[in-house]
Amino acid sequence: MGKQIMIDPITRIEGHAKISLHLDDSGVVDEARMHVTQFRGFEKFCEGRPFYEMPSLMARTCGICPVSHLVAAAKACDDLYSVQIPEAAVMLRRMINLAQIMQSHALSFFYLSSPDLVFGMDADPAMRNLFGVHAQDPQLMRDGIRLRQIGQQIIELLGGKRIHPSWVVPGGVNAPLTEEHRDTILAVLPEAKALAQRTLRWYKKIMKQFKPEIDTFANFPSLYLGLVDKLGNLEHYDGNFRMMDAAGNIIIDQFDTLRYAEIIEEAVEPWSYMKFPYYKSLGYPRGMYRTGPLARLNIIDACGTPMADDELEEFRGGSTKPVQSSFHYHWARLIEILFAVERIEDILTTKRVMTKHVRAYATPNSFDGIGVTEAPRGSLIHHFKIDEQGLVTWANLIIATAHNNLAMNRGILQAAKTFVDGNHLKEGMLNRVEAVIRAFDPCLSCSTHAAGQMPFHVELVAPDGELLDEVKRGV
């Protein structure tokens, strides 16, 4: 009989989860699973509610990426209306989504993962946290906080408030952009660009110290899924699906997102509250794919903005094959921050974004509505069915993080096999397993927990229940 190691909870992630590592008789890791231990039930309790509540209601799924849910649900409502929303509304929604990606990526990189990057995986956990980073490299911490602040401020200037704005509505947005707010946003963008570039320079320097991790943090062939625009470039608001295989071949292109159910199916496992989506044609679990920053940068032809395209070239290193290591989600995240700043600047310097016509009024013309966007963590799908009164009868949400569920589980197994010695546990071994999850930046629900401060308890238990070894922190 083998033994089991529990990492519960996983720290410095968004939401609640634990990892179980199953050891064989010789103490070698045999199986690894990430259990998402919380249950939200949004798909169920929205039933019976009017469709127009969905953007705000679904946004409550999360306090970090509410804008993504707001936008995806509003797009699903547009689809219920069966209308084309005004061009300025598209631009404004695209911008608030980019600002959201900017602040969420900054949160993931600086608040959650930078302690591992600054101090290394084996460092003393007492230091390996946000405050430790601040003491070691105050400039880095300031850059991170400022970048996140700028993203949040743009959301506030557009949507009226930073968290859960109700500005994005079915049919568009409920107020046009003012010149004053446009100018305020334009004024902070050069600083954001400089901060993103400085962080990229730093990351490319320290990345070299993490070769073992790069080699083993979910570094395996998989499919990649994301949205691309009509030209095949980076797209976060609209566009169509593209899927790439491990060899870099595009196997699905310009696939209408409304037909998502033809390519994606969801499996359920008894040990996790998170579903396991997979690519239908390959079946479960072979149809494993990844989404999010790494996948997006893999599938696109180009970013479409000059600075981000320069960085993309370096990211790809001249190879035509996709970048496989999930450690590079971090790098991809920084490039996307830079892209978001550049793209927001592009949009704000057009005249059309100032148009006052920002909302289409309609009543539902369809009983079925689908909205798809790119959230910080990947493709986000909202699908609602309504009755003739406009009340929701059924909802399906495929959250960005869930797409990565299969890959995350395989990723922790790969890292655990490499780093974890079941016969003698060290905190740093387990931290590496957690860091794989952090690289994916899963948003398991709602809120971030204290960086590095959460109680952490790993027990090594023999089959007869005898406690063989344990590691504790902050309990």
Partner: protein
């Protein structure tokens, strides 16, 4: 005629000497003198019913709390509109209202334009001590212009009164008793099938919460417009004279 002579009473509200016509309520006199008593079921222009009990006041010499909206003034009365006890009762009433139905402000179309929410803020309700009942309530969106959401209803009866007294349609009324009470259209038929509803929308605009709303409004967009009420009330009074 002697019954047309106006009898004036003098009284004290919160220590201030005020005077009033004999047929006026404490609430009306307080409002005339800039003393703001919290109300919910009351709306100027509709018959006061004293249903919500938020306007309870203390009166010297009486051990009972009396609703200011339906209590007429008396000579020498001494009224207190604010006290620790009153505040405690008012908060309790609001907490009971919140716990009785599903008031989810964050996703409500009336968020930011809601009398119940404003009262909770004003009275400092930051915690509900009672267990939520979480009733399963219907949403009636059968009307092509309006929606009735029982989850947000506080049974103030403003819709019932405005429909009966001003519009003269009497589409709305109460059904059931106690915690089971519901407002209904006609004989509990879907609103969209109501024969008596004139589609005037007055009920929607007097509703204090998001229980009666216009279709097409998104979250936090349902601001109620009540400017019509004083005008219509004045017209009705002139007609009656």
């Amino acid at each position: 005629m002697s019954d047309q002579t106006v009898s004036i009473k003098t009284l004290k509200i919160d220590g201030r000497d005020v005077s009033a016509r004999a047929d006026e309520t404490i609430l009306a006199v307080a409002q005339q003198n800039g003393i703001d008593i919290p109300t919910l079921c009351h709306l100027d222009g509709l018959t006061p019913v004293g249903a919500c009990r938020l306007c309870l006041v203390e009166i010297a010499g009486s051990n009972k709390l009396l609703p200011a909206c339906v209590t007429t003034v008396r000579e020498g009365m001494e009224v207190f509109t604010e006290s620790e006890k009153l505040n405690r009762y008012r908060k309790m009433i609001l907490e009971l209202l919140f716990s009785e139905r599903n008031h989810i402000c964050a996703v409500c179309v009336s968020n930011g334009h809601c009398d119940l929410q404003d009262l909770a803020v004003r009275l400092g309700v930051d915690f509900i001590r009672y267990p939520y009942l979480h009733p399963v309530e219907k949403v009636d969106a059968s009307h092509d212009r309006f929606v009735q959401d029982d989850n947000r209803c506080v049974l103030c009866g403003r819709c019932v009164r405005v429909c009966g007294e001003l519009e003269g349609a009497h589409t709305w009324d109460f059904m059931g008793r106690g915690v089971q009470t519901r407002v209904i259209t006609d004989l509990d038929t879907p609103w969209g099938e109501s024969d008596s509803c004139t589609r005037c929308g007055k009920c929607v605009h007097v509703c204090p919460t998001g229980a009666l709303i216009e279709k097409g409004r998104s979250v936090a967009e349902m601001a109620k417009r009540r400017q019509f009420l004083p005008y219509l009330t004045l017209m009705r009074q002139e007609d009656q004279q």
